[in-house]
């Protein structure tokens, strides 16, 4: 069976690279699922969680901010300003960051962005725990 070659790249580093069976990501038009043999697609991503099912091993959840996905001939590239693996996310710290961001107020776009970032991070961590990806 064919598989997807996935690379998730943040501005300053490569976050996750490997073969995968499927990917679920969120675009401005709704969720998009990508399987091997999908038509070429180039789409923006809204801030949210990208779920990857690797060919081997447990599922991966990645919190993605300001990104887009490009896919052609089973090569999937997800590019983002910041991308964090759920396993790298410290839930306590993310929770604290969220509280701090909320306390700072949500009037400026920057503060709002900070709140969104913290929320997405927590969501990615929650997705991972729910799926039992790692203990």
């Amino acid at each position: 069976m064919s598989e997807l070659n996935v690379s998730v790249v943040a501005v300053d580093r490569s976050v996750w690279v490997g073969p995968a069976k499927s990917i679920v990501a969120k675009t401005p038009e709704g969720e998009i699922g990508i399987l091997p043999g999908h038509e070429p697609v180039l789409s923006l991503l809204v801030n949210g969680v990208v779920r990857i099912e690797p060919t081997e091993g447990a599922k991966v959840a990645i919190a993605v901010h300001g990104g887009f996905v490009a896919m052609d001939s089973d090569n999937v590239r997800i590019l983002a300003e910041t991308a964090e693996l759920s396993s790298d996310i410290d839930v306590d710290r993310a929770q604290k960051a969220l509280e701090k961001a909320r306390a700072a107020g949500e009037d400026s776009p920057e503060a709002l962005a900070a709140v969104h970032r913290a929320e997405t991070r927590l969501k990615a961590a929650a997705t991972a725990t729910a799926a039992g990806m790692h203990s």
Binding site: V11, D12, A70, R77
Partner: protein, 302 residues
């Protein structure tokens, strides 16, 4: 001990302590340089993919947005200078400032008013001393720039770009930075960020350059125009980020080189001074001996 000898010894000591400092700075610059270079390399995959996606979206979409089309009557242009926060890096910052002056003169010749966007304390100091108007400036991160820094700069210049010219906006954005070629060679480069320069190249050339064949027929979501519209600000951010990283690597390389030649010069100076001190000491000894001999001679003949 003679007065002359004492002066020499004192100077040797002072040069030695200076050499210690320059040597330490050289070592620090070397280790920071390695880190800076690693960060440049780590940012490459994103840059490549972003350029690919933009080329795909641009070649697909028919409409050319404001980011691409050139303005007929250019009034103002933003000039971003990337210099360092600290000195002791040889001609690193002054080379950028000089190139910036050249660009300013060129723009003025074409009837375009340059607006100054400055990065790094050195350029800010230079412009403030000459009491020139600074549109915006950022300092404090030039040796270790982050993406957030690049984003702040990009947001400011994009906002100026999106403001109509009549209301004080700019029609062009230029970037002056130091490109890192290798350890020995860094060159000052001037690039226009916006409007994006469209290169007319043949397909063979393009595939050679971008390492891609003809782009597949992407399904753009929401639309090619929207994708391009969203990607261009990223492109500007990324371009500034890359320039900041390359400039940081160049800064460390320039500082390392400057400090190395300073250490070498100090060593040379110590050697010369040591020789002169030895000579002074020997002269002193000779003099004392001749005084003793002369004294004994005078006693014997009396």
């Amino acid at each position: 001990m003679g007065a002359q000898l004492r002066v020499y010894r004192r100077r040797i000591k002072s040069v030695q302590s200076t050499k210690k400092i320059t040597k330490a700075m050289e070592l620090i610059a070397s280790s920071r340089f390695v880190k800076a270079q690693q960060r440049v390399e780590a940012s490459l995959p994103y840059t490549q993919e972003l350029l690919r996606a933009i080329s795909a979206a641009a070649s697909h979409g028919n409409s050319k947005g404001a980011f691409v089309s050139e303005v007929e009557n250019r009034k103002r242009a933003a000039v971003i200078l990337i210099t360092s926060d600290r000195g002791l890096a040889g001609a690193y910052s002054s080379a950028i400032i000089k190139e910036g002056e050249g660009l300013n003169a060129l723009l003025k010749e074409e009837g375009v008013t340059p607006e100054h966007y400055l990065v790094g304390r050195k350029s800010v100091g230079y412009y403030k001393f000459r009491e020139r108007k600074i549109a915006n400036s950022w300092t404090g991160f030039t040796d270790q720039p982050t993406y957030e820094d690049a984003k702040r700069i990009a947001t400011a210049v994009i906002e100026a770009f999106n403001t109509p010219t009549a209301e004080g906006g700019v029609d062009e954005i230029h970037l002056v930075y130091t490109h890192f070629v290798n350890m020995a060679v860094q060159e000052v480069r001037v690039r226009r960020i916006l409007p994006v320069e469209i290169l007319e190249v043949s397909k063979a050339e393009a595939s050679e350059k971008l390492d891609t064949k003809v782009f597949p027929l992407y399904d753009f979501e929401p639309s090619p125009e929207a994708v391009l519209e969203a990607l261009i600000p990223r492109y500007v951010e990324n371009m500034i980020y890359t320039a900041l990283l390359l400039a940081a690597a160049s800064e460390h390389a320039a500082r390392r080189r400057a400090m190395k030649s300073a250490s070498d010069n100090a060593e040379e100076l110590i050697r010369t001074l040591a020789r002169q001190a030895n000579q002074a000491r020997q002269a002193e000894i000779t003099q004392e001996i001749s005084e003793i001999v002369g004294g004994a001679d005078a006693l014997a003949s009396a």
